[in-house]
Symmetry: C2
Subunit: 428 residues, 2 copies
């Protein structure tokens, strides 16, 4: 009997430091630029004013390990860390593949996605630095939910701009945030100058992560005391999310197996980066491969250009170098709202440019079909974003079946799809 | 730092037998009766035809322990057993109570509630005995979801009658079942003779668990090859759910504490019974108290009569003795659809009648307010049903604060409220 389906870590095996992968990247990360001055702007100017300072320091930290404050560690236990790594034995049997498939269950965290692991430390720092509230963008609402709960934990106000089409597609995520006292506003928003500007150009704009970033940054700019936080893209977010990979590493050791291929969906790149970067030395030695699964609605890694661009629609953020579709690109309103972004993190861009990150793009229907197979076999309903990673895993497992080759495939299950059922219904 | 917030069991500590509490009840359970013959009917007649035989045998088993088949045990691991027991340290701090509060996290199971723990073995037996499909009732849809997933695991057809008002309140639960290929029908249903009969009397009937049982039994009667399964009330269901209490017992030993009071919400009584009955000896010795929290919309234990009644609206089931509001009682359409039942299990009735089970009834608004406090402190959004147990725990913890008395309160968190957000929105 296959008893050991879950690989747990004891609480004393939980990493108590974040891994700073920056010194181990194959090349130095192209610096952020200010569009006016052309010099690095994230340590000066607007971002310096509206971001907690500790997070900017972490972006530029030179140490390999960053200690997690005790209070943060305690809250990380409460949100459900460390999460189990599960062997997908039922899926393997269904596919008849010689591959071993593992998935990391971030869907079990309190808000149903991996986002809480960075929301908690960000709220901790914002609170410590005397901000009265936080403001941010969200695509599908996973980050927004994490932000709302963390804000409540730290007794802070919370404002969330959510891409308008996702807000309409996923009403339960808004209700959850409302219940926790967060204020959720559709983006583009008539509340900000930039939002009104976008709506003037196009009153039917569906909203994207890019417009929501513009709205959130503008809000922080105009409302003193609000910290602007990011749920992805930035280096400190990826650093916080390295717990995903650090835990997985220990769990694979416990299972007595070495990962051959790592899979994650990708948009900003924080679930992918956090999960994969602790294996950067193994990747450089070609002991493991990285596979990112993106949405055909925003196919940056497979069809975009590697160049400097804004992270937001209107050009409030510093210019960073990554793969981009252009900052005014409007993706189709697919249900994987978390993947509807024109660009992504400079780190993911660099990995891709250096040939370390393979990428596959999937259409919504194919991704959802894969998620349905996963539900029927493993019993886990994944988020629409995650369904893209599932599609890549299943495709690879079937190729390995043809070749009769055993490999260990490890996937990050970034979130639950329970609040995306409406989306599944409308597509499948 | 309070690290040990979760108490886990290793897989080899997972109970591999169900606990048959029947020989340990304070009195013999009043036998079920057939309304025509007046003799015990659950081993003969209609129920004998439509229920898997193994389940009826379990209802009448004399052994203390029933071995869990290996295949079932394997699936129980997959659904997420054993679940962690969590110390509600944040809630304790918020209330300022000297009480220690623990809760058993059944919300972490794959479908978000405790129901899978009996759905899996029931499908296993139904499949083994050659049925092609299963049919059942569901209130809020927790049992329906568990049934749909388990049916998919065993490759069987699945038909679910869901109380009409709950179906309208909780559309995501239906979509989940649809996605797994289950057929979900509102009750009262025009598909069955009995459903048409009820609709003829009252075309605006909101549906209850009682009408849904009538529909499901009628369907099984008229469609050969469909097993009629129950999600609560019957003895075999309570026996399967004893894993909840058996695990909790081991976990409290690990925590080095003895439970003083056990809390659960109650309708049919399977989460309460499964959780509390493994502590029956301690209860008889007055070492622990049992507290059941019911809905004011169906206040059987606090206002009903202890007498023989049907479990369904139309009198298809055998007559069993429990606390009842009368089988034609129609509870208000509260969002805790799982608590909208006129009667309950004979076992819970006996415990109550013998003075072993204390009961408290809560209105929806008070219960939801308690759930909100729980969400804001613990970060767990409980199901509307569970919110009643939370209300009882908070009330007790505050009484203990007044008396400055330390007790260990252990609550069953029977399910997640993520798919009930619409309900929370409309009440709070």
């Amino acid at each position: 009997m296959d008893k050991s389906i879950d690989i747990y870590l004891d609480e004393n095996e939980m990493p108590d430091k974040w891994y700073n992968f920056m010194p181990f990247l194959p090349k130095e990360l192209p610096a952020a630029k200010n569009h006016e001055t052309g010099v690095c702007s994230d340590q000066s100017g607007l971002m310096q004013e509206i971001r907690p300072k500790e997070l900017i320091l972490q972006d530029h930290c030179k140490e390999k390990w960053i200690k997690i404050p005790d209070e943060v560690l305690e809250k990380l236990f409460q949100i459900g860390r460390p999460t189990p790594l599960r062997r997908a034995a039922a899926l393997e049997r269904y596919l008849g593949t010689p591959a071993h498939i593992y998935f990391k269950r971030e869907d079990l965290l309190l808000t149903g996605s991996f986002k809480l692991s960075t929301a908690i430390p960000q709220l901790y720092y914002a609170n410590n630095e005397g901000f009265k509230g936080v403001v941010s963008e969200t695509g599908a609402g996973q980050w927004g939910m994490a932000l709302a709960l963390s804000s409540k934990f730290y007794g802070m106000e919370c404002k969330v701009f959510m891409a308008k089409c996702s807000l309409e597609q996923k009403p339960y995520r808004k209700i959850y945030m409302d219940l926790l006292g967060a204020e959720v506003m559709p983006s583009p928003s008539s509340l900000t100058l930039v939002g009104r500007d976008i709506l003037m150009e196009n009153k039917d704009h569906t909203g994207t992560l890019g417009t929501a970033i513009s709205d959130a940054v503008a809000y922080a700019k105009d409302n003193k005391g609000f910290a602007y936080l990011s749920g992805s893209n930035t280096t400190h977010v990826l650093i916080h999310q390295t717990l995903l990979g650090l835990e997985t590493k220990k769990q694979m050791e416990k299972a007595g197996e070495k990962p051959d291929m790592l899979f994650a969906c990708i948009s900003g790149g924080s679930n992918l980066g956090g999960f994969m970067l602790p294996f950067i030395e193994e990747r450089m030695n070609n002991e493991v491969l990285y596979i990112g699964a993106e949405s055909e609605a925003a196919p940056r890694l497979t069809q975009g250009n590697y160049e400097y661009d804004y992270s937001d629609y209107k050009g409030y953020t510093p210019l960073v170098k990554s793969y981009t579709m252009g900052h005014s690109f409007i993706p189709d309103p697919v249900h994987a709202g978390g993947l509807r972004q024109h660009s992504g993190s400079p780190v993911a861009g660099l990995l891709r440019h250096e040939g370390l990150l393979d990428a596959k793009a999937y259409g919504e229907k194919d991704a959802f079909k894969a998620a349905k197979v996963f539900l029927e076999t493993e019993g886990v309903l994944v988020a629409p974003e995650t369904s893209h990673a599932v599609a890549a895993v299943i495709e690879t497992a079937l190729e390995l079946k043809k070749k009769n080759k055993k490999k260990n495939l490890v996937m990050l299950c970034s979130g639950s799809g329970m609040l995306d059922l409406e989306g599944y219904k409308s597509v499948i």
